[in-house]
């Protein structure tokens, strides 16, 4: 089953691995394949807006491109919407201070803030407002709590509206045809270690299916074995001098640059190998190359979308 056929994808990863770029690329790809897509920035720090070169996003989704909608999460707004939909409170204006204090409790009480986030996203799926909801989820440390929150609340709260309404969220998250996580890593020690640990925690503490692991910023392979031998020859004094005489410039630096590229690629390959070895068997993996480009914003997002498209 293709990644884009699911309904709800949580994209996560260690800080600095390009989680937002991948989430934005996935959403753009899905929308260009005709899927009505919602991209949600959970941390709401403006990274998604930057990926599409648009102004600050709000809780109400806006259409950034055909079929591509984006929003920024706000637990306070989510609570207000929830109360409006479920309690039919007459004095909506008086909700403000209550919602604010509630947000404060939510910061302290386990799972309450998380479920306001997950609940809103699940609601968008259930109501069929979109074919696919892509979540630029919190970094690895926080995402497990978020995904586990519906079950946790379900277990903790014995009566009340929340109790009644967590069951369908739990069911949606548990359905692998609908919901999955996408973990983004880069081929370096810490991100690989965190990715492996995260898959174990997701497996142990949540019912959410691992949809894919995306290895971002994969460096190109320069040489095969025979080419590598030729390259080693070129690094010797004689051939280097011949090349310098022929092109009349600092060939030494050009060769040093290639040597650095070879060594960087090699050290990263070992991390990819470890990742593959330690992930659960048959985990779908996708590789997104390092973009040697000056592109920023929407152009960079489009390049990522194309790269993911090539892998699907």
């Amino acid at each position: 089953m293709s990644l884009l056929d699911r309904r709800l994808l949580f994209v996560t990863g260690k800080g600095g691995v390009g989680k937002t770029s991948i989430a934005a690329g996935l959403a753009l790809l899905a929308s260009s394949h005709g899927r009505r897509t919602l991209l949600c920035d959970v941390d709401a720090r403006g990274a998604v807006a930057a990926a599409f070169e648009t102004g600050p996003l709000g809780f109400a989704a806006e259409e950034l491109a055909p079929r591509l909608h984006a929003m920024a999460m706000s637990t306070e707004e989510s609570l207000k919407e929830y109360l409006r939909l479920n309690l039919r409170l007459p004095l909506v204006t008086r909700l403000g201070p209550i919602a604010r204090s509630f947000d404060f409790v939510a910061a302290a009480a386990p799972g309450v803030r998380e479920i306001l986030v997950v609940g809103k996203l699940a609601y968008e799926v259930r109501e069929n407002h979109y074919d696919l909801v892509v979540v630029d989820a919190p970094a690895t440390g926080h995402v497990v709590g978020q995904l586990a929150s519906p079950s946790a609340i379900h277990d903790l709260v014995h009566v009340g509206l929340v109790r009644d309404q967590t069951q369908w969220i739990v069911d949606l998250l548990r359905d692998p045809a609908a919901t999955g996580t996408v973990i983004v890593a880069v081929p370096e020690e810490m991100p690989v270690t965190e990715t492996i640990e995260l898959t174990q925690r997701l497996e142990a503490e949540t019912d959410v299916d691992l949809a894919a692991v995306v290895v971002n910023r994969v460096l190109p392979e320069l040489f095969g074995t025979r080419e590598e031998e030729v390259f080693r020859e070129l690094l010797k004094d004689g051939p280097t001098k011949k090349l310098r005489d022929a092109v009349g410039g600092p060939v030494r630096h050009v060769l040093a640059g290639a040597d650095l590229a070879v060594r960087l690629r090699r050290s990263r390959t070992s991390h990819i190998a470890r990742l593959r070895q330690e992930l659960p068997p048959r985990t779908p993996m996708m590789y997104v190359p390092e973009m040697f480009s000056r592109a920023q914003g929407i152009r960079a997002t489009r390049m990522i979308a194309d790269a993911i498209g090539d892998e699907l």
């Binding site: 937002t20 941390d43 009566v159 040489f223 011949k242 090349l243 920023q296």
Partner: protein, 382 residues
């Protein structure tokens, strides 16, 4: 050594807080700065790290040691190149253990202490509430600093949602304990006389969460509130330590757009709070030759003239192979050149560069030994 280098900064300060966006090598830089201080400045130096990469932790002898401080042997410190003038100690921050210690210290009596430590919500709350990781790191820093056991403490900050969270953590903690909300939350269980203000809140909260869950939370905070005076006084002390003249911040970043915008944001945040920015360390900087015009031109020629150069070189039996290698070298150099140029631009675009900007090159190998760190230490001083 220049007059305003890293050495001087480390010599003048008692606390260095290393911060910056995720994935830029903060822990490595904190440890390398520790080596610089212990080898070249002297005194007793402690590097307090939060979440080191496993192989780095192993190299530092930090395995499953909890909050224990370990000394790095003098002979390992400088790879035999220098005679260390001081001692380097390292410790890992164990969040859970640190919280437990804090509760033990501030609980008014043994019964309250046991009730909190045994409360089912305790673990959940310490793991999640009001940036507890950030707070506990600053709290540990304060405690060790106040003990006077070290001349310099370098602390590596935890990965936060936002790099500035930990700056505000002590204040938020004090605010939280002093908040009206916490009082509201616990009022019905302290008194039969409901404060009228909390009624609508309870009305809504009851309908959503159910009374039982709400009471569980209230019970917990009621216990927690007994520690209010101690906690608030402590949080203020922690805050004061961060503001002291002998405390400085070092921001680590890599030269990519996302990290640099966070770095700028962070530098502004320090300025707003009147905290002192000591240095910026730019990590994973590509060699400057990638942006030299002459080198780029040589690279282009290698590609364009590959067939002719191959016949000049007379290497091996397969000219097509050699040609391919030359083209690959050329293309790779020009690709990295694009990234290197971008790095250079980002460096010039830095809004408020501090007096000290150190750069550390893009290294092919991971840092897995004290010797590797000593190399980085040398680059920091360059």
């Amino acid at each position: 050594m220049s007059e305003t280098g890293i050495d001087q900064l480390l010599a003048a300060k008692e606390v260095i807080v290393v911060c910056g966006p995720g994935g830029v090598g903060k822990t490595t830089m904190a440890a390398a700065a520790g080596i610089v201080a212990a080898v070249h400045v002297g005194g007793r130096v402690l590097v307090l790290t939060v979440d080191p990469a496993r192989r780095l932790a192993t190299a530092l002898g930090l395995e499953a040691l909890g909050n224990t401080e370990v000394r790095i042997p003098a002979e390992a410190l400088a790879g035999g190149r220098y005679e260390p003038r001081g001692e380097l100690w390292v410790a890992q921050l164990d969040t859970k253990q640190s919280w437990d210690e804090l509760i033990r210290q501030h609980a008014p009596d043994a019964a309250t202490r046991d009730a909190i430590l045994g409360n089912s919500l305790y673990e959940n709350v310490t793991a999640k509430f009001v940036q507890s990781h950030d707070y506990i790191a600053m709290e540990r820093l304060y405690e060790i600093h106040a003990s006077g056991r070290y001349d310099l403490i370098i602390v590596d900050t935890p990965p936060s949602r936002s790099a500035v969270d930990f700056l505000d953590a002590p204040e938020k903690m004090a605010e939280f304990f002093g908040s009206r909300l916490l009082r509201w939350l616990t009022v019905p269980y302290r008194s039969k006389l409901f404060a009228s203000a909390s009624r609508p809140f309870y009305h809504v909260a009851d309908r959503i969460l159910g009374q039982e869950f709400l009471r569980d939370i209230a019970d917990f905070f009621l216990l927690f509130q007994t520690m209010y005076p101690g906690f608030v006084a402590r949080a203020q002390e922690v805050q004061r330590t961060l503001r002291e003249r002998r405390t400085s911040f070092v921001v680590v970043s890599t030269l990519d757009a996302t990290s640099m915008s966070e770095c700028d944001f962070f530098i502004d945040a320090l300025a707003e709070r009147r905290l002192s920015l000591g240095a910026v360390v730019l990590n994973r900087v590509l060699p400057s030759y990638f942006t030299e015009r002459a080198a780029a031109s040589a690279a282009r020629k290698l590609g364009r003239r590959a067939p002719k150069l191959t016949s000049t070189l007379k290497l091996g039996e397969d000219p097509a192979l050699v040609e391919g290698v030359l083209r690959e070298i050329s293309e790779s150099f020009l690709s990295y050149g694009v990234t290197a140029a971008r790095q250079q631009e980002l460096r010039h675009e830095m809004r408020h560069a501090p007096p000290i900007v150190a750069t550390v090159p893009f290294l092919a190998a991971d840092i897995v030994s004290v010797e590797g760190l000593a190399d980085i230490a040398d680059r920091l001083r360059a």
